[in-house]
Symmetry: C2
Subunit: 267 residues, 2 copies
């Protein structure tokens, strides 16, 4: 069993409740990697017997540090329409709410389509070096990352890098075909934009993340074990909060998802 | 009383419940303008006696058409930390859930700050003509809009406009100082990007919207009755769903908010 599937394995506890646990392979500095928590929340929707259609949107709110150990997810189908369904999500540890969120699933059909945000022209993954994991948290080792720009600063010298844009090729380190949960996890994979821009580590953490899934299940399945090109940038850093906007393309140039997050920082 | 304040007026029904009603001045083609519904949900948080801090993020999910008439909002402080608070939101009409959502409020403090997405260089509002309301829905008349590009097509001839980017100056038609609820409403003000790009009206509707508030209360108050520059663009249109990413700057060039939405379309 792939270590990602181990991490998102949930047991249906009846009704809208699913039990799971954090997984040591996905540990961050404190608690688990936010992306794996997002994937677990999405997985509860995918496992729900009343689910209609595939994910089109996911919002997860990081209310408190998730403690290492068991958790319960509540995935409530708050509203079911003919071709769409809205989900309300909570993750509980004991009586404490550690995550809230919402998701939307839908039956998709053929329509007019066009991509406006084209994949930038960059070197192919085979010509970009793999970033060493070094002393980064355990979860970083789960991915193969090939940074083009905006990765871990070469020197932590506090110099202003002028912008926070990151571009990198990335995929699961142990190969696994892409699906909605892994795409949700990868949406949170970017190195902190503030650390990158300032070449300085300050305390920070994602407080909310939204993912829009812009590809249908067939297009995601076609990615297989291929790389994704990720691009992320902060738009404004102000009084303790910054927003990050990001895009994830397949190697073939399909824009699979766009994602946004708000990040708290301390100084 | 300003017609915006009339629309967001809620009465505290005890606990986490607030009663309100749709307002005819904000009618859309079916039900109310989504922006005013977003503002009503945010207002329930602002009125809640347990609120801590100012809004930093808001996500609203348009689960079903809001019917003209009364509604109840539930605003639950799901998690309160030392300087942050996470809210779970629902709007009910009778027993039906018509909106879900989440919000985050926080105490902000001085930190490092920088804007990466600078306001584009455009003509000032005084040199841009006001768009006529024409046969557009009632709520459009509540705003003064001065489009620079990507507004209502001059001809509905089905010609591809090449891109969906919109830029416009905008403010309340009857002047009112900007605050968090009016900023949330304005985040949903853009003319549909799909209609603009294709010069064709097809059935569509926003299904989820997220707003990140990147300015503190003082900076928002300084805007007063001034204009905001809004920019919005779809990144991908695919199988019935498109994402719109947008920025809202003050005339002084402060990036007050970034906002994203997913829009359903039929053909």
């Amino acid at each position: 069993m792939h270590v990602f599937d181990e991490a998102i394995a949930l047991s249906h506890a009846g009704g809208d409740r699913f039990d799971g646990a954090t997984h040591p392979a996905w540990a961050n500095m404190v608690g688990p990697f936010g992306g794996i928590t997002a994937a677990q929340l999405l997985q509860s929707v995918l496992l729900h017997p009343q689910r209609l259609g595939d994910p089109v949107a996911l919002t997860v709110n990081f209310c408190a540090a998730v403690a290492d150990g068991p958790f319960t997810i509540e995935a409530v189908p708050a509203r079911t329409n003919r071709s769409t369904q809205h989900w309300t999500l909570r993750m509980l540890q004991g009586q404490a709410v550690v995550m809230t969120g919402s998701a939307m699933t839908a039956l998709r059909r053929d329509t007019f389509g066009v991509t406006e945000h084209a994949m930038p022209s960059v070197l192919p993954p085979s010509q970009v070096a793999v970033a060493p994991v070094g002393d980064r948290p355990e979860w970083v080792g789960r991915y193969e990352m090939r940074p083009l720009e905006g990765g871990v600063p070469a020197q932590w010298d506090g110099s202003d890098q002028g912008h926070s844009r990151a571009r990198l090729w990335m995929r699961d380190g142990a190969l696994r075909p892409l699906d909605y949960p892994s795409l949700a996890a990868i949406a949170d994979l970017f190195f902190p934009r503030l650390w990158s821009r300032r070449a300085t580590r300050v305390p920070l953490g994602t407080v909310t993340m939204t993912v829009y899934f812009l590809a249908d299940a067939q297009q995601i399945a076609r990615v297989g074990n291929g790389f994704l090109l990720g691009q992320a940038q902060g738009q404004r850093f102000h009084m303790g909060y910054l927003d990050q906007t990001a895009q994830l393309w397949s190697e073939a140039g399909d824009l699979l998802a766009t994602t946004h997050q708000l990040v708290y920082y301390k100084e």
